[in-house]
Amino acid sequence: MTPVTRTKRAALLATVGFLSLGLASCGDSSTEADAPSESDPVTITYTHRLPDGEGMTTVQEQVDEWNAANPGIQVEPTKFDGEAAEMSVRLETDINAGNGPCLAQMGYAEVPEAYVKGLLADVTEEAAAYEEDFSEGARGLMQVGDATVGLPQDIGPLVYYYNETEFENLGIEVPTNLDEFRAAAETAAADGKNIAAFMPDEGQYWLSAQAAAAGDTWFSTNGDAWVVNANGDGAQNVASLWQDLLDNDEVLVQQRWGDGFTQALTDGTLIGHVGAAWEAGFLLDDLDGTEAEGQWRVAQLPDYGNGVMSGPDGGSGVAVMDGCENPEAALEFLDWLNTSGDFLASQGLVPAADIEVETPEKMTRQFGGQDVMGELAVATENLNPDFPYAPGFSSLVTMSEEASNVAAGDAQVTDIFETAQTTAVATLENLGLPVSE
């Protein structure tokens, strides 16, 4: 998929400019796909940043299994040890130098920007064969406009975690709407407990996911321009909830990834948490061996005012990179990998594929025998179907900065969504993409 010569006319046609690009790339790949044969195995390079931690089935072990069964398609995985942002810099450098990997893990929110930068291959045609393995909503996460660029791997709908025993002691039920949530927070706070944490460092994904759960769509298109709507009705509902809790001092204010959160969790102050599905894999690790072990459960989010819905908080897919010579073979492996439920679950992930996954033994123990994976799958089905990301979403980290000011009492929660709106528009303009005001 080297630079494609374009005519003015093609450019004009391309309100969806990627379409023509997609066609060109399809042409390329189909000729390339003829090349491999049984005697001459193709090599698929695959860069990921899965944890490969203690007690997990490592990516290498899983890939070994594939390689043994598929002599024609040999996969070489590489674990990248840095952060997601560092990995995208490395990928960009490699792909521009012509030696990028064939497959690479990528957060859903980063996909559109990587596509704009020309890092991803359009594999719409090749991916069609695997349509039925993934729900439409999940597939949409790895689509940019009409082009499919890979397959989803794990998914992070927001859910509600809570300590059932503590809730019973306090006489509160799992809140099903925001009024109940406020009431429960008040009851718990009277007893020195918090049923949720406000986490400034997660401001970006956590709050945008709640806005999605409240029914908002942040990025849509009007003809050939982006429309950004980050402070709509849903965002206002979310803002008013947290503003009330903050004003009444009925919420724990801690950074999610700071040690204060762990402390509140282990000392029993924090008895509920609005969090992503993938947190189920490790959230309760620190409670192992304490009396709180086995007391927690997972439930759906309360109704944020637009029916029971969830919003996407993280999760990632595996994209086919620009320059991959055998996208067909790559996708064949990828589909197998992303439907290997036990492997993904062992890595602490909630598979995005439409498969039944048995709750791992560790989760069963930590969640008192609950069918955690079943509950998380319901949240996945409840995901807001219309919440695509736009290029430049990573710059909305300004939301976290503003959320921190909110925590310090220097700003209102609504300001966070205002910031999201202005940052998103400015970033799209800086990227040179059309924005409709």
Binding site: D52, T58, Q60, D81, T266, F282
Partner: protein
């Protein structure tokens, strides 16, 4: 540097006058000043070592104990579990990574010290074309943030196919502009021209003069340079993060960084890994001790 000598000599002359009306002091310091100094240095030691002690204690704890027990005392002894966890998270490659780090740091340290000393000596003792330009360029090299040069550097190594090799770590690590400046400053003060002249009159070649005389005179400075380059190589993770993809070639700091960049790191295990990584450095430091002696007991130049 002559001005330094002048500056050093002037006050002495002045002082000779000023001490005339005082009784001669004993050369040995008084017991009071000894005690005071020891107390002061010990307090400073506490400042530097207390966090390290905290780290040692922390490496024996589980995550929940880290968040709930007093930092300077042990909770449930979790050392064995942390060690197992460390081995498991590093796929059993931990000690191999420590070995890699040792290899990279030692090689870069030795080569880097040698070439920096040579360059520093050249600037301090020879006049050659481009000398000032080279120094200015070296200074400018310090001014650009290294983190942003890593990507272009990666591109350069990529172009010659040298990424993911030991060279991609060793070559960049052994180029130390700061080492050159140290070399210049130390060569100016501790390599007297007379010694060089005398050796030349005796008919010694320039290489021989450098390797037998200059290196000996510069030993304390070189030990310092070596330590700096060694530690900087050991602790650098951005360079290997970009350059290295094979697990077999990773240095230990990169491996630990990989453990931390995951959402819920096993912190006790990570800190244990860091401490185990510091052990070779402490041993090295003590091995190098004998090259530093107090300036009063061993002048670099025998008068």
């Amino acid at each position: 540097m002559s001005s330094i000598v002048e500056a050093a000599e002037k006050p002495i002359r002045r002082q000779i006058k000023s001490v005339e009306d005082q009784p001669p002091r004993s050369i040995a310091p008084s017991p009071v000043s000894r005690v005071v100094t020891t107390v002061v240095l010990t307090l400073v030691t506490l400042y530097f070592l207390l966090p390290v002690i905290w780290l040692i204690v922390a490496s024996t704890k589980s995550n929940s104990d880290l968040a709930s027990t007093f930092g300077f005392w042990f909770a449930d002894m979790n050392l064995g579990t942390n060690y197992e966890s460390l081995m498991s998270w590093t796929q059993g490659l931990f000690w191999r990574w420590v070995g890699n780090s040792l290899f990279y740091s030692l090689t870069a340290g030795v080569v880097g010290t040698l070439i920096s000393t040579m360059a520093g000596y050249a600037v301090a003792k020879f006049v050659f074309p481009g000398r000032r330009t080279m120094l200015a360029a070296t200074m400018a090299g310090l001014l650009m943030p290294i983190a942003l040069l890593t990507i272009p550097l990666y591109t350069v190594f990529n172009a010659v196919g040298a990424t993911n090799t030991v060279w991609s770590i060793i070559i960049p690590s052994c180029v130390s502009p700061f080492g050159v400046f140290l070399g210049v400053v130390y060569a100016q003060t501790s390599v007297p021209d007379e010694v060089l002249e005398a050796a030349r009159i005796d008919g010694a070649g320039e290489a021989r003069i450098f390797f037998t005389i200059v290196l000996r005179l510069l030993t304390p400075a070189m030990v310092t340079m070596f330590l700096f380059i060694f530690v900087a190589t050991w602790n650098n993770f951005l360079l290997p993060l970009m350059m290295i993809s094979s697990p077999e070639l990773k240095p230990v700091t990169l491996g630990l960084y990989g453990m931390i960049s995951y959402f819920a790191p096993d912190k006790g295990a990570v800190m244990l890994g860091a401490l185990l990584g510091v052990v070779p450095l402490v041993i090295l430091f003590f091995t190098l001790q004998r090259y530093w002696r107090s300036g009063l007991t061993a002048g670099a130049v025998k008068g």
